[in-house]
């Protein structure tokens, strides 16, 4: 029995609510008749739109070209005609140019799997990742090629596959690990070829014993040098900082990247996308989305084309069973509430949750009683209540001195706060104001 690891400081245990959807296999969502494809689906600069209204596009055609290094390509998820190009607000609050594509024409036949990559050079594989628009599918949508493009003098010690999925309700990674085990392992081999790390860890939380077992078994059968690491269930273990602290016991320095401590982390979904990109020559035009929540009639894990409306996904799950109180894009801890059923699924959408009125109704903000629950819960050892008060009083620079920018907005503090103080929003405001003052 392996030692079950976790990160030492802070963290919370929200009810994981995965039982709603974790027993349903991934099925295909309907192809959207109109795909809404944002140019800004990743962290960094938005892609440059390559099509005009009236253009015919094919499935998987490049329609947004990455602008510079810190950006990513965007592809059309369906064949059809460009109907319109607009600017809309995404559920994340970002404004983005979107391409509306009306379904028309033929789908590509799925290509046969090629094993060419075993003879390809790491440089070619990395180019493939750039071309296919792969970004981190865990939620942060950090362009993957930046992470993997190591300087020649850097020797990578650890590559960690993140199968933690610590957000409640979400089960898309869990199902992917069960159903696409071989593909994920091949994806890891590809990454191994690109970066050649000393050790490869696969971190999975204990609430997915079937995934742990299937990985152990398959890795054993194939004789691959990967280590499966069971982890205690604790939020926010899926954050790369916490995951690395748990697995290799090193701390990412303040303001640094995992690479600073010799590690790179990728989500299982990303690994699977890399497999598809390299072996099936398929750009990132589909992802697995968990549609769940207490008010959804049949919670499901769906394979969804990018650009599908979230309303269509809820319909596909037979609509709602109770009066819905709130629709969340992403997980319940870090996701975004939206009122727009036409909002599109993007590369970073891991879930669409519908909560009932009872759960969405939370008593309003009350006074801070200095109970210290947030201090105990913060996985980074910050003092959320003091930071919030500093921001509240407009003392942004002082908040910065108290390490405001180390905050990852994981929401642990606000989760435990008995006064329902919007701590996360306070932190965001503080960061925004500091940046704004700097621009001035």
């Amino acid at each position: 029995m392996k030692k079950i690891m976790t990160f030492p400081m802070g963290g919370v245990h929200p009810p994981d609510s995965k039982e709603y959807s974790n027993s349903f296999s991934i099925r295909n969502a309907p192809i959207p008749s109109l795909a809404v494809i944002p140019m800004q689906q990743h962290m960094g600069a938005p892609a440059e739109c390559l099509v005009n209204v009236g253009d015919k596009v094919e499935e998987g055609m490049l329609i947004g070209k990455s602008t510079g290094y810190f950006s990513a390509n965007v592809h059309s998820s369906i064949p059809g005609t460009v109907k319109d190009i607009q600017e809309i607000y995404l559920p994340t609050g970002m404004k983005s140019k979107v391409v509306l594509i009306e379904l028309e024409g033929e789908f590509r036949k799925p290509g046969s799997k090629s094993d060419d990559w075993r003879s390809a050079s790491p440089k070619d594989l990395l180019d493939k990742i750039v071309n296919m628009g792969i970004v981190g599918l865990g939620g942060a949508t950090f362009p993957t090629h930046i992470k993997y493009n190591l300087k020649p003098e850097v020797k990578l010690e650890y590559f960690v596959v993140n199968g933690v999925e610590c957000e409640p309700f979400l089960t898309c990674d869990h199902r992917l690990m069960l159903e696409k085990t071989n593909e994920i392992l091949e994806g890891i081999e590809i990454i191994n070829k690109i970066m050649n790390p000393q050790d490869i860890y696969i971190g999975i939380e204990k609430n997915k014993p079937d995934a742990l077992a299937v990985f152990e078994q398959t890795i054993g059968a194939k004789g691959l040098p990967f280590k499966v690491m069971p982890l205690k269930v604790k939020y926010p273990q899926g954050d790369e900082k916490q995951l690395l602290k748990a697995l290799i016991g090193r701390e990412v320095p303040s303001g640094g990247l995992p690479l600073d401590i010799g590690a790179v982390v990728s989500n299982v979904g990303t690994v699977f996308a890399i497999y598809e990109a390299v072996c099936l020559n398929k750009p990132l035009i589909e992802r697995i989305v968990t549609v769940s929540g207490t008010a959804v009639k049949t919670p499901s894990n769906l394979k969804v084309r990018i650009g599908t409306k979230i309303g269509d996904l809820i319909d596909e799950c037979n609509g709602v069973s109770k009066k819905p109180g709130k629709i969340i894009v992403g997980g319940p801890m870090m996701g975004f509430a939206t009122a727009d059923l036409n909002a599109p699924v993007t590369k970073g959408t891991s879930g669409v949750l519908v909560l009932s009125v009872r759960e969405a109704n939370l008593a309003g903000e009350l006074t801070c009683i200095q109970c210290g629950k947030c201090v105990a819960a913060c996985p980074l050892g910050l003092n959320p209540t003091t930071l919030y008060k500093l921001v509240d009083h407009g003392l942004y620079e002082e908040a910065k001195a108290e390490s405001l920018f180390d905050c990852k907005e994981c929401g642990c503090c606000a989760f435990v706060c008995p006064s329902h103080i919007p701590l996360v929003q306070g932190m965001r405001l503080g960061k925004f104001m500091v940046k704004k003052q700097k621009v001035k």
Binding site: K389, L390, D392, H393
Partner: protein, 197 residues
């Protein structure tokens, strides 16, 4: 007669039960003036500990080895103050040399320790109570630590109160006086304990 008090008990008494600030109310001015900022409060508190320890020992020696044999006890006020001033001057130079940052934070208040009533008060108490050399050193150190604890706790409280919606008229000195009053009220609980006379 030297009173018969165990030095450990005396130390504890001088830190808590007969706290120089909150039970004897000595050294109030710098206590209120410097406690606005935690860092300078801490620095001043540490400076007071050192000065108190040095001056208690020096003044005990001066009094018992010079003034008493020469029958010059009536000069004690002047002599005590001169000894305090001299040791503070030397300390000031040392701090300036070792830690200019601390020197800058303390600013005018380091020389002002010279006239901090807590220092002279402690020195006079030593002489009035007729403490032995060891007792003097312990009492000086304990009183300094007591003063330091009191000022850093007040500084931390004031830091916390900075962001509180205190009624406008009570902001600043008003709420500080109320806080000190409540703290002193709590210290009354120690009344009667180990009353060091």
């Amino acid at each position: 007669m030297t009173p018969d008090i165990n030095p450990i008990v005396l130390f504890f008494a001088s830190v808590f039960t007969s706290n120089i600030l909150l039970a004897n109310f000595l050294g109030m001015c710098s206590f209120i003036a410097i406690s606005k900022d935690f860092k300078s409060a801490n620095g001043l508190g540490l400076a007071v500990i050192i000065v108190l320890l040095i001056t208690s020992v020096l003044n005990w020696a001066v009094y018992h080895l010079i003034l008493v044999p020469l029958n010059l006890e009536y000069l004690r006020f002047i002599v005590f103050i001169i000894v305090i001033a001299a040791s503070v001057q030397i300390l000031e130079m040392v701090i300036d040399r070792i830690s200019p940052a601390l020197y800058m934070t303390l600013g005018i208040f380091l020389p002002l320790i010279t006239v901090n009533c807590a220092i002279l008060g402690v020195v006079l108490l030593l002489q009035i109570r007729n403490y032995s050399f060891v007792q003097s050193a312990v009492f000086g150190l304990g009183s300094g630590i007591g003063w330091w604890i009191a000022i850093i706790s007040l500084a931390a409280i004031r830091k916390k109160l900075e962001k509180a919606p205190i009624p406008a008229g009570l902001k600043g000195p008003g709420i500080t006086f109320i806080t000190i009053g409540l703290m002193a009220m709590a210290f009354m609980g120690f009344s009667g304990i180990l009353s060091v006379q």
